[in-house]
């Protein structure tokens, strides 16, 4: 319980920074911090496999992806300062506060039962492997096909790049991409 009480406010603070900070790179780095803290939360609860996967995929791939695209697009900070105008903030709060209220009210109403103080249910690697490749095998194959399609699609998107294409010989006037 103690790790939960320490990590939860930290996660919320980091997420608040990711949502609120005007400089985009700071927001992206705070997102990476939030994701890392959530991975630590999973590790503290006892979901070790999921925690490490969260670290590897979210912090190591998604956060890097976001940060990299911020490096490429180099957004300025003025746009985000403009979004601080009271009108847009008010719109955001009008839509968000009811959602939060509904979630809280349903949480209080549902009154989740007090769990018996138990250790984490067992989630060994063997169980994951069995479940993944027997019960959930079609899902694994579908996700594999999906990720392959995403890879090919993203590569095709990126091919529309100006500059040197691989089949022309280099001429000394053209500039190299970084």
């Amino acid at each position: 319980m103690l790790p939960l009480l320490i990590l939860s406010p930290l996660i919320l603070l980091a997420a608040l920074g990711a949502v609120w900070k005007a400089r985009p790179v700071h927001a992206a780095l705070l997102l990476a911090l939030t994701l890392a803290l959530i991975a630590l939360l999973y590790l503290a609860i006892g979901a070790y496999f999921i925690g490490l996967v969260q670290f590897m995929v979210y912090v190591g791939a998604v956060a890097i992806l976001i940060v990299f695209s911020l490096l490429i697009t180099r957004p300025g900070d003025e746009a985000e300062e403009i979004s601080r105008r009271p009108s847009s903030l008010l719109t955001g709060l009008i839509c968000t506060v009811p959602v939060l209220a509904v979630l809280f009210i349903s949480l209080i109403r549902a009154n989740p039962p007090e769990p018996a103080a138990s250790d984490a249910p067992s989630a060994t690697l063997q169980q994951f492997g069995e479940k993944l490749f027997t019960t959930h095998a079609p899902v694994v194959i579908t996700v594999g096909v999906l990720l392959t399609a995403v890879l090919i699609g993203a590569a095709l998107f990126a091919r529309g790049v100006q500059g040197i294409s691989s089949s022309e010989p280099f001429e000394s006037g053209k500039s190299l991409p970084p």
Binding site: L29, F68, L71, T124, L125, S167, P169, P178
Partner: protein
């Protein structure tokens, strides 16, 4: 109340095999003898274990910095550092004093918090990763059930730190260097992990001590049962080796930090002790990934010949580590640097297909050997690996590699 795994009253006998565990045993015994509470004994044991690993590998880092300079010097037909003591043996000390006494310059345009946090964050993942590698049959600092996954997860933390270093410096060379470094590390992480997948599949476990344990025993009485001596293991081992050179940003893949390319890449605006931390992080990462390669493919702490079991197992590990690191140094001194587009094409178009071919080969190998067809396993997997290798290499060199460039100069 959880029960902590602490030492009971008696002190375990000190053998050569046990020697690296001596600090931990000593600390736990002393604390228990003084009468400290159980959690303090446990914490003391943890600190002692971590201290052993850090102490061993920091001294190895100091030694490696000297050995590298001397080896590169000899390859390049010169002498290398030989002023600071006999044979240059105090050169690391001199380097350390220099780094510590240098002025720490932070550029005015830099963000000082991220600029400070980046070197710290880049040293932490290799040290974490060094904790899960089995160094001896009794010495795994942190034996985790998901050790290999933990290792790769800490590798990805390095990339965020590199980005922070590059961006927080606030100038162009670090930013470009960080972009190149991140794209290189992300691209070569795929062949690294895919080549390790074959080993995981064959062993059936992510736990590194289990992987080493499975490579015990000898075929035909004298050939060790290491993963490198199987067809899929050789193929995956070569891919892992090349990918580890790229992950550690070593020559020929050291474009992000080559001096003639981009000054020092993401480390340009760092001086003094922060630069030393980058240096340390890179070398500790090299130790970690070489250690992982040895664990996965070279049998970890297993002895190479049946009669040599009397030598402590951690000595075999460090001997193999020395051989692998010397091969890295040799390659550094021999090959020219690779261009960024050659690097990326090589990773995505050549290494990943080759790595993917090893997985069915490993599966077929295990299946056939489990059913008793040992020779048939060799006959099937060797063509299954050799043929795609040859085809992929020819196809890559003819069609997919960047074309040779024609430079036209002003006449």
């Amino acid at each position: 109340m959880i029960s902590l795994p602490v030492q009971t009253a008696s002190f375990p006998p000190v053998t050569l095999e046990n020697l690296p565990l001596l600090p931990k045993n000593l600390v736990e015994f002393l604390l228990g003898w003084v009468g400290a509470p159980e959690w303090l004994v446990y914490a003391g044991g943890i600190v002692a274990t971590a201290g052993t690993v850090v102490g061993v590998f920091l001294s190895a880092f100091a030694l490696l910095s000297l050995v590298e300079r001397k080896t590169l010097a000899r390859i390049q037909n010169r002498l290398g550092p030989n002023r600071a003591g006999w044979f240059g043996i105090f050169q690391p000390v001199a380097d350390g004093i220099k780094m510590l006494t240098k002025e720490d310059i932070v550029p005015a345009k830099a963000e000082w918090l991220l600029h400070l946090a980046a070197p710290v964050l880049i040293v932490v993942p290799p040290i974490l990763a060094l904790g899960v590698i089995p160094y001896g049959c009794e010495w795994t600092p942190v034996p985790l059930e998901l050790g290999l996954l933990f290792f790769f997860a800490t590798g990805t933390l390095t990339e965020i730190a590199v980005f922070m270093a590059g961006w927080a410096s606030g100038s162009k060379f670090p930013m470009l260097g960080a972009m190149r470094a991140i794209s290189q590390m992300v691209s070569y992480e795929l062949p690294l992990v895919i080549s390790a997948l074959g080993v995981i599949m064959v062993t059936g476990s992510l736990s590194l001590p289990d992987i080493v344990g499975k490579q015990g025993g000898y075929h035909l009485g004298f050939i060790p049962a290491w993963n490198l001596f199987t067809p899929w293991g050789l193929s995956a081992g070569i891919i892992f080796y090349i990918a580890s050179i790229a992950e550690a940003n070593r020559c020929p893949f050291d474009l992000p930090e080559g001096e003639s390319e981009i000054v020092a890449g993401h480390m340009t605006e760092y001086s003094g002790f922060k630069y030393a931390l980058f240096f340390m992080g890179e070398y500790l990462g090299l130790f970690a990934i070489a250690g992982l390669g040895i664990t996965l493919f070279l049998g970890g702490w297993q002895a190479p010949l049946p009669g040599l079991g009397f030598v402590p197992s951690w000595i075999w590990f460090f001997a193999k580590l020395a051989v692998v690191i010397m091969s890295y140094l040799w390659i550094r001194g021999t090959f020219p640097r690779v261009r960024i587009d050659q690097l990326m094409r090589f990773a995505w178009l050549c290494m990943i297909p080759m790595a993917l071919v090893t997985i069915p080969a490993a599966g077929i190998w295990t299946l056939l050997r489990a059913n008793g067809h040992g020779l048939f396993a060799w006959l099937v997997t060797v063509p299954l690996l050799v043929f795609p290798w040859i085809v992929l290499t020819i196809v890559y060199n003819r069609c997919l590699a960047p074309a040779t460039r024609k430079y036209t100069f002003a006449e």
